[in-house]
Symmetry: D2
Subunit: 334 residues, 4 copies
Amino acid sequence: MFFYSDNTASACPEILAAIAAANEGFARSYGEDAWSARLNEVFGTFFGADLRAFPVITGTAANALSLATLASPYTMIFAHEQAHVFRDESGAPEFFSGGARLVPVPGEHGRITVKALDMALRMSAASLQPALLSITQGTEFGTVYRPAEIQALCALAHERGLEVHMDGARLANALAFLGCHPGDVTWRAGVDVLSFGATKNGALAAEAVVFFDRNLVLDFDLRRIRGGHLLSKSRYVSAQLLAYVESSVWRRNAQRANAGAARLAERAAEYLSHPVESNQLFLRLGATRKQALRDAGFEFCDWEASGPGEARFVVSWNQPESDIDALGAALSAL
Amino acid sequence: MFFYSDNTASACPEILAAIAAANEGFARSYGEDAWSARLNEVFGTFFGADLRAFPVITGTAANALSLATLASPYTMIFAHEQAHVFRDESGAPEFFSGGARLVPVPGEHGRITVKALDMALRMSAASLQPALLSITQGTEFGTVYRPAEIQALCALAHERGLEVHMDGARLANALAFLGCHPGDVTWRAGVDVLSFGATKNGALAAEAVVFFDRNLVLDFDLRRIRGGHLLSKSRYVSAQLLAYVESSVWRRNAQRANAGAARLAERAAEYLSHPVESNQLFLRLGATRKQALRDAGFEFCDWEASGPGEARFVVSWNQPESDIDALGAALSAL
Amino acid sequence: MFFYSDNTASACPEILAAIAAANEGFARSYGEDAWSARLNEVFGTFFGADLRAFPVITGTAANALSLATLASPYTMIFAHEQAHVFRDESGAPEFFSGGARLVPVPGEHGRITVKALDMALRMSAASLQPALLSITQGTEFGTVYRPAEIQALCALAHERGLEVHMDGARLANALAFLGCHPGDVTWRAGVDVLSFGATKNGALAAEAVVFFDRNLVLDFDLRRIRGGHLLSKSRYVSAQLLAYVESSVWRRNAQRANAGAARLAERAAEYLSHPVESNQLFLRLGATRKQALRDAGFEFCDWEASGPGEARFVVSWNQPESDIDALGAALSAL
Amino acid sequence: MFFYSDNTASACPEILAAIAAANEGFARSYGEDAWSARLNEVFGTFFGADLRAFPVITGTAANALSLATLASPYTMIFAHEQAHVFRDESGAPEFFSGGARLVPVPGEHGRITVKALDMALRMSAASLQPALLSITQGTEFGTVYRPAEIQALCALAHERGLEVHMDGARLANALAFLGCHPGDVTWRAGVDVLSFGATKNGALAAEAVVFFDRNLVLDFDLRRIRGGHLLSKSRYVSAQLLAYVESSVWRRNAQRANAGAARLAERAAEYLSHPVESNQLFLRLGATRKQALRDAGFEFCDWEASGPGEARFVVSWNQPESDIDALGAALSAL
């Protein structure tokens, strides 16, 4: 039973149907197709904003390309010390930006506070310029920033001359938890550019970079080609994004995954190291309990950054109810 | 009628079926899936070699990652002056390699000769080291290197200390034309690393980087993550590659496209600027004839690099016979 | 009275005489001169080791070039969180290395401990490889590592597969304090590559990169040209280095500066935030006292990283005794 | 007898005197000294323009930093195929710019023509943006652009959206030959940024980057630190530049070197492959004559790029008359 990551899940039927539907006849290549042409409008409606949206196929590409577009080589990008951009992308932001520096910011439950950001800004190297704040929504620890928290962070960032990037690899899960309008945690709160994730929540391979200010797009287009991230048959990525955003698929999948995690959280309350606000659980189990769960057939991730006994469980959009029941029972029985 | 590029074609049914078949249940992510696990063996059988094959999703990524793995920042990569890596990738090789230099080599019909390579090596900047030769098979002008030509180029390259990369975006078309074993124009002829293309010939988005010498893989893995080119749900790319290589799909699609181009070549013999050896035709039509064809509904590419009146027509794997008939008739009637 | 930095001092007479002596007739350029030819031998004698020494003209160049030679783009370089390479070089290590990451390590009085390094290694991003430890001797806070401390750090670093770089911008001051052999805090303790500073201690502009293991030189030569750091008339840098190393100039200058700092430390004991082991003093003075000193004509540096009231005073090799007396009196009178 | 390069000459007495004069007392570091503070004004007077001048210590640094300031990673820099930036700097422009591409332009006697530039622009890769033209004055072949030629090149470049950089490593020699005002071949002709060389013409190590449009300075300052090219004791470089520009030293040295070359040209007329317009001669001597000259004690450079028998002789500012007489006699006697 796969609780290792929501990346282990398959694509949902609507996504596959959209790909199949896009597979008719000829279409112009390199983003000149009819599906890609609709992205700005469809994402614009979704977020209630005049924006520009670009399809890519990995979250790392979405993050690195948007960070590099806004951060010159001699600048600093502030991110949570456990952020995906900081820990899990083999230095993609440094590579794409030509050597900008990621500055780790501490923060409980994966969230950066205004106070911590302010401190990090003041303590940072004077020989580099602060350029960007990158926050993750939902966070790497399964928690979710409230709109007011994002507003406050963006306000401080903008006041100090930084743009704000949001890594929204699990934005759908955050929106499902908050029940708010997608604009409330993004552009209305001050976010300038967003990595919009769909892959983890039921797409096959589809992410979008969304610029809420068209003036910030700058040379993104050229950087995307140069990074090998402009697909020749781009219709297939755009078709996934359209299906995901236009339908209720994003919400349905996220709600279902969140609900599964919530159910598990009840059974594992004593082990929780972070509030469960999306589809991830972090449990302080210790080596023995972890081994017992593995022996029982559960796959999950050691989360060594938080200590030797910590484990991460992720509920996928299509996690069988029986998996959740089984894991819940196993957790209760530990 | 789309003769603009084989990138405008859809994916073939076998590829879509393979994606659908891979869409069952959970699978480990980031290349740890069962499909990716079979790539070395399946490509090894195809090429008759002990090799390592890595899936990526664009030709630019395949090229840039393989070039960067073998070319340090202070080195030179020799490629045809009309090569895709040189002209059409917005400097991806320079980006991924950290500033290696592409040295353009002239050559009739898109092919580099031993003599031209020797001259380019001797004339090149002494303050940079020669590291790589990159050749394209089939070439950007629709021609195809014969095995002996590749052998001779590789022999000179190796003698001078260069590794050899092959951009095989249309390798299937070249193999279909030559009717030889895949190994004959690659590792047996001296090619060290190959960008193996499937997208142009019927895949949805699937390319592979193939190292014929395992010792050359070096840090490719890390560079792929860092470039944002390791897909979380990599099974879908690997499944395409398996379906493409294991079946006769690659040959059938390529033969059909080549045959269409050959048919058109007969009707346009007087305009041909290069021999038609794969699925591309280059015609010296002049502005008036080009406009006439466009008025008749044909989409094709101006090929300005070869002069103002030149046009490129590409026949896709699924080009309707009626398209080919119509274009043939229109060319005859010019 | 300049206590701002030892960079504000002029060059000492022996250095200027060496430059003048080198200014005779013609000499081969780009490092092929007779002065440069002696560097390996003269530094080898100084350190008691078989080494390779390369002249450059800034400490940033020495640091960035040596770090980049040993750290690939997808690796991590561990350094003290107040290290010059981390805070004061506008990201030169990231630039020269193609985006390697500097990982800040905390540590009292500017020194990294084995425990802190071990923790930093364990907490670092698994998606990047640890490549280098960089330590500063004497440290940015005027303290000095003891040989056994360096040995222990190098032992841990080597055990984990890291090479060790030493930023020796003020190595002479550290050696003067310790009274040990130059080899004892460098190669004998495990240091692999050294930025050997002379500029701060009486040279005009002269530093050396010293590789204690010839196999680590790798592509340093090419990186130096590519960075614009191979001087055409390199004899003038090498002549400075020879004069500095072969004579007792390095020791005399460093001893004198250290002695001045020690004298001041006695007068400012109550304000000291770090032990005074070389030619730098860090004083917790607070805003009022700082202003009083400035009003009295003393130039010094605010050291904001350690808190708002902190100030740094550096005694130069040729600091007039009267300056030291005046500052000592002023400090006593605060 | 050294005719290998003007880099083999020593520094002239006025330069050494300026360094000695600057070696008094303390001075603010990192460009905050009194000498550096005068550069804008003194260079402004020299060129008759409102400009900004920055000292560096190598020509490669001057070139690479100015090119990188104006050329983004995904752009092209057009330069003569024999330009120093293209052939002799180990890819420094690519390194500093983050992978911009140098496009070689052919041209007789080291000079680019409007026609050749136009052709190169039209033939260049559409996937990269043209950003800069770099011309060398005097050229790598000892010839000199006339003001009208520079005007025409700059006009075309600007019309197509490119800025113009001039590599003035031997600008003094060109000015001495032309007898024109320094502004006539630089900003008045349309040059935007200049690498102003002094080292080859009698300085110890001193070059300047001169921006004729203050708006183009952009992030040059940060790039200079990041490249390790901001000297801590910058007074010594600025003092050299001031002495060189404010006095008649630049003209006297250049005139003398040019006159020596002119004298030699008379004796070697039959072997000349390029007009002698500055202090360099290129002679088609063939292997036997080259060996004869070497046997007679003359050091010079093989210039293989122009063919196996070609040799370069450079007359330095302080070339002894007896050297010139001896070489002249030897050439006549060949």
